[in-house]
Structure formats: C-alpha cells, structure tokens
C-alpha cells in the first residue's frame, strides 16, 4: 500500500471514528423509545460536530502547509536570484578591472575605461532586470498561493455545509420516526417496562 493510500485510510477511519457505532444507539432506543430516540439524535448531532471539527482542524493544517510551502519556495528562490545577481556583479567587475589593468602596459587608456564602464553599466541593467523578473515571479507565486488557499477553503466550507445538511435530514428522520412511533403506540414502552418490572 502506498504511503498516500495508507494516509487516506487512516484519515478516513479517523473521521469515521467520530461517528458512533449503531450498536450504541440501538441499545439506547431498546431501553426506552422516547428518551432513547432523543439521546440517539443528540449523539448523532454530537458525532457530526466532532467530525466537522476534525475536518476543520485538518483543513487548517493544509492551509498552513500551503503557506509554508510557498514561503519556503520564496525564500529559496530569492536566495537563488540574489546569488545570481552577486555573481553577475562580481564577474562584470572582474572583467572591467582586468580590461583596465591588462590592456595596455602602464595603465588603461580612455577607450579601455569606456569599455569597462560599458561592461559595468550592462551588468547593472542586467541585474536590475533580473531583480524585476524575480520579484514579478515571486509575487505571482504568492498570489497563486492565496488563490489556492481561498479555493481550498471554499471546498472545505462547501463539504462541511453538505455534511450539515445530511446531519439535519438524518436527525429529522430519526426524530420523525420516534414521534410516529410514540403517536402510534403512546404507552407501549412504558407499559412494557412496567410489565417487565411486575413480572420480575
């Protein structure tokens, strides 16, 4: 099993562990129909709340991870761009200095100085250009990160809303069934309990 599948499997069980086993609820209803139904309904609501809280906590972790990944990438890429700029400046300065020093015996001419200056100016322009490109690219990355987080949060909110809708429908179903049963057989459970007590 791949790591991802294992993670998914555990995550899934983790979420479902918040939803109580049917057996627990079954016992409640068998003991007393009215209060049992009420208690089972309360527990269903509590279970969904717990599952929702877990989903929200996990979603927050994902958002934190997206931010961390972006920040790490920005730090790494900024350092890379700075290194590139430093290298360019160093190389240009060396080429210009070599030109002035080595071109003519006894020192550089005016042409050498102009040529050296041109190298340095071009290096400056190149590094400014590089800096701009890096800034634009990094800003785009940061913007994309925010958009990704926004989209992810929307999906999470929608999933939680859908879960809440199912919870409401489920609770209504159990509650209605309890009410119907109580209306059809208003004294069944009490009588049964009393009969059982009398027999004992």
């Amino acid at each position: 099993m791949s790591r991802r599948i294992i993670d998914c499997y555990y995550t899934m069980n983790d979420y479902l562990s918040h939803v109580r086993s049917l057996e627990d609820l079954h016992d409640l209803i068998e003991v007393d129909l009215t209060s049992g139904t009420e208690e089972a309904t309360k527990r269903l609501i509590g279970d969904v709340k717990a599952a929702t809280a877990k989903i929200s906590a996990d979603a927050e972790q994902i958002v934190a991870r997206v931010h961390a990944e972006t920040e790490a990438a920005v730090v790494r890429l900024t350092a890379e761009a700075e290194r590139g700029i430093n290298d360019i400046n160093k190389d240009a300065a060396k080429a210009a200095a070599d030109l002035v020093r080595d071109s003519k015996p006894g020192g550089g001419s005016k042409e050498d100085a102009v040529a050296a200056n041109k190298i340095l100016k071009d290096a400056e322009a190149a590094t400014i250009n590089l800096n701009k490109k890096a800034q634009v690219a990094l800003l785009a990355l940061a913007k994309l990160s925010e958009e990704t987080v926004f989209k992810f949060n929307r999906i999470t909110e929608s999933a939680i809303r859908e879960l809440a809708d199912v919870e409401q429908a489920a609770v209504k179903k159990v509650s209605d069934a309890g009410k119907n049963a109580a209306a059809k057989f208003p004294t069944t459970t009490n009588n049964e309990t009393q009969d059982n007590e009398s027999l004992q």
Binding site: L25, V66, A81, G84, L99, I119, D122, A123, L130, V166
Partner: protein
Amino acid sequence: MTAAEVIKSLAQAAGEINRATALANEKIQRASDEAILTIKKASKTVSIMINDAIDAANEKIFRTAETEIAKAVGEEEAEFFDLAPLKDRWAKRK
C-alpha cells in the same frame, strides 16, 4: 415493533452520516492534494523563470565583456583576456 422502526431509521441516518462524512473527507483530501500540487508546480515554474533570467543576464554580461574588450584592445589581444569564468557560468547553467 416501534423500537424496530426507530432503529431502522436510525440505521439509515447513521449510514447517511457515515457516507456524507466519508464524502466530505474525500473532497477535502482531493482539494488538499490539488492545492499542494499547484504550489509545487508554481514553485517549479518560478524557479525556471528566475534561472532563465539569471542565464539571460549572464549571457548578456559575457557578450558585452567579449565585445567591449575586443573593441578596446582588438580581436587578437582580446584572446589573452580570460573570459572563461564568465562563459562557464552561463554555459554551465544552460
């Protein structure tokens, strides 16, 4: 009989909640994978963009130095200038 009806409803409700929880989890898992992948891909793209910009700058400096040195000292003399480190930095990155 009445308890059985309520329990049946309860079983259905619990089943629906289980399915909805699993579905919500699946959706979030998918969205989470997609979000992380998007950032990783974008980081890679930005890295390529920055490296391309560094390459372009290195190439520009190499070309300028080559041209200006040749102009200043002449083609023959220019050969004595060591531009290999400049050229290497650009060529190696490529």
